[in-house]
Amino acid sequence: MAVTDTSPGWLGKSIKRKEDDRFIAGRGNYIEDINLPAMLHMAILRSPYAHARINGIDASAASALPGVVAVVTGELLAQHKLAWMPTLSGDTQAVLATDKVRFQGQEVACVIAEDRYVAHDALELIEVDYEPLPAVVDPFAALDDGAPLIRDDKDGQTDNRIYHWEAGDAEATERAFAEADRVVTVNTHYPRSHPAPLECCGCVADVNPASSRATIYMTSQAPHAIRTVFALVAGLPEQNIQVISPDIGGGFGNKVPVYPGYVVATAASLLIGRPVKWIEDRTGNLISTGFARDFHMKGELALTNDGRMLGLRVKMLSDQGYAYADAQPSKLKAGLFHIVTGSYDMPAAHVITDGAYTNKAPGGVAYRCSFRVTEASFLIERLVQSAAYDLGIDPVELRRKNFIRSDQFPYTSATGFVYDSGDYEGALDLALEKARYSELRAEQAELRKEGKLIGIGIASMTEALGAGPSRDYDILGIKMFDSAELRVHPTGKAILKLGVRHQGQGHETTFAQIVAHELGIPPDDILVHEGDTDNTPYGLGTYASRSTPVAGAAAAMVARKLRDKSKKIAAHLLEVAEEDLEWEIGKFSVKGAPDRSKTIQEIAFAAYTDHPPGMEAGLEGAHYYDPPNLTFPFATYIVVVEVDAETGEWKPRQVVAVDDCGVRINPMIVEGQIMGGLTEGFAMSAMQQITFDEDGNCIGANFMDYLLPTAWETPHFDLYETCTPSPHHPIGCKGVGESATVGSPAAFVNAVVDAVAHLGVRDVDMPVTSGAVWEAIQAVKGTG
């Protein structure tokens, strides 16, 4: 656990969170807390069918209900060219259905009323004439010849394929496989999941008819990008749109995309001239907003008999739903999935990916994940374990033998990533020691004799995050830099404004610590401001673990700019040359005469009251940071589970996490992120899944069917760390908010499989329910 750091400065200090006081007092300001005078309420009518033609909508009874102000349909939006909107992956998505509905839960009409109860009452009065069509539920069948065409609205779209994208070197990989002693295969489905933050999505749109100014409060992790999209879609001048993201009750990727509710509420406010509030309900959230994962993956690993990895071949089919809407960097169709070679020195790799339309909700968002690294990490870590069993080598030894060694960094992977730094054996060794690995293996053998099963699962994950270098990464053409503005006030207090938007990650504290470390202004004296497009510099937002790698770097860089200016002011105040000054955190002093010094607060005051002739007054600056590379945090997770072979029931007994995210700004917050991530890793491996029946009905669009772990099931976590700073980040940080979600599912699944591997079980698909384990055992019994 966190060690107290007594070094000077503010990095590595577990100070308590500045944002907590308002939350523990019940004074957070979430979207539902925003109420404006004369505000109306909006409710959404959703399709009961997965695929149907709309022959007509009769809203007359709904419109006549007292208290109803308007019923908005796709037809009305079409008159304003707003029936369709672009997605963040460059596809299109219906705002309200016009011709057809293409998934169950699709937005068909919206009621705007004087209160929320009336709005919901009126939904029941809308008559929609649907003509059901065959639903395409299976992504493989979607690509068959003759499958019903889902996107017949798109010119030139003749089948259900969205993309075909490859990475790596096919020929080199073929040669590697030709030379291999063995090929190990894992076929797996990473199930469709949903981030399900506890706060659903929502907005309050306020278009002032007199000034034409639109103020839109919304649950957005990326307010600047959303504003640009709104400007493009609605043709509104961008300076007339202000997007404000108030406190957000969790995001996890779910609050990155633009959803129809935001657009309709804004259009309705524009047409009616009053503010319109839309608060999504949980069913709406689970059935229609950004789902995650749903990758069907086949991985083949070529090895020598003594366990040397020669090559990796991967085929992946992504079930995208009816729109490609997951906010991928535009040059990378399957995100960063090609990081699938993981922590291993893989001489050759070839990754083939396809995306298919199905009659399901759009999405594929990076749920606590840097653009699909989660699926990649799962696949390679499952392959490594299967290979270890096939070769009769301990999974630890197989990893050790193939890790990228510390002296190989920067390391160029077979699919083109340049890993910045790492020490994979260091993290593995510490995890083995803390989990008492060799004792565990002995215990496992002993227990087996008594008919009791435990399993030990390991995952040594590496992820790529912090998008990104603008040469490679953009969303809809907008480069993925990020930004910071810093102003030090005359009294030596400061405001730091950022283009990102936190949802619980602690930015108000950690980013203040970065500036505190660079300038010596205590964190309590620094206000961190985010989530208001009028009052923060442009940035791409908080997701994919990019805030600290990109915006955190921008904060450090802008503070350094101000320090440079402060030096000039100090030289003027002390009447010495700049070269004669030295910096220690918080003040400049004259070399050799340490009692002659000026604190940053004195310098700030002088910047407004006594600045050097010829210099601009004030102490303020901005920095747009374009990272030279991604950062590559890594971890080893070890999970020990107990499995009941009779019933298939299992539960975690021990979870050891060794994370290396480079320099930790606030270890307490980092550990909070890791524990949250481990919980979601456990949740995905054990219970979270969104399923559909053969007609495309969504099974599980509520918290009775879509299971989330409570405190009771969630295991205790033991956390440890190693520290390998990023060589290119200004303060050596890497991202960490998602590492454990990315890496730990494989450790949980590997552990369950390990408990029953001696019976011949090699695989259990997620979610690993007791039923799935029991069936896997029965299947090998049948064959054995």
């Binding site: 308590k16 969170r17 944002e19 907590d20 006081d21 308002r22 939350f23 523990i24 007092a25 019940g26 004074r27 957070g28 979430y30 539902e32 807390d33 929320r116 109860y117 399900a196 933050p197 506890l198 706060e199 659903c200 406190d247 957000i248 009750g249 969790g250 996890f252 608060i279 309900d281 949980r282 069913t283 949802q503 619980g504 990650q505 602690g506 307490m668 917050i669 550990e671 909070g672 524990m675 949250g676 991530g677 481990l678 919980t679 979601e680 509520n702 918290f703 009775m704 989330l708 409570t710 405190a711 009771w712 969630t714 205790h716 976590f717």
Partner: protein
Amino acid sequence: MHRSITVTVNGQSRTAEVEPRMLLVYFLREVLDLRGVHVGCDTTSCGVCAVLLDGVPVKSCTMFAVQADGRSLTTVEGLASNGQKHAVQEGFKEEHGLQCGFCTPAMMLVASALLEENANPSESEIRWAISGNLCRCTGYQNIVKAVQHAAATLNPQPASGRTT
């Protein structure tokens, strides 16, 4: 069709006219302007709407406001007294028991009710007590520590020897 109800909320008597179908959570949020109580689901599953009814945690999304007539309610706004944070509030801040804060008011109320009944709960007693309240951010471990922190503040010499 409105009905008049009187409830004692955080020690103060409040009377209002409500529609019989108004849920308690919306009564608290929209009529009494107590915004610390939240809504997170439509199936009584998440617990972010929990408040104390005569000292006992209830999910306010699953009760009508009229059912609270004549009863006493505590919300997060009533936890602090005389400008002093409740020990549970201190515990959540000290132990980093919250991230986005959305589940936090309800978690703290449930924890405070537990501590009223059981001054020195074990880890599993705490986990069981909060198992009707979901948190998507923290992984619960720091919430457990936060409750233990509060227990230690309220009851400085706990009986020894109970860890799980």
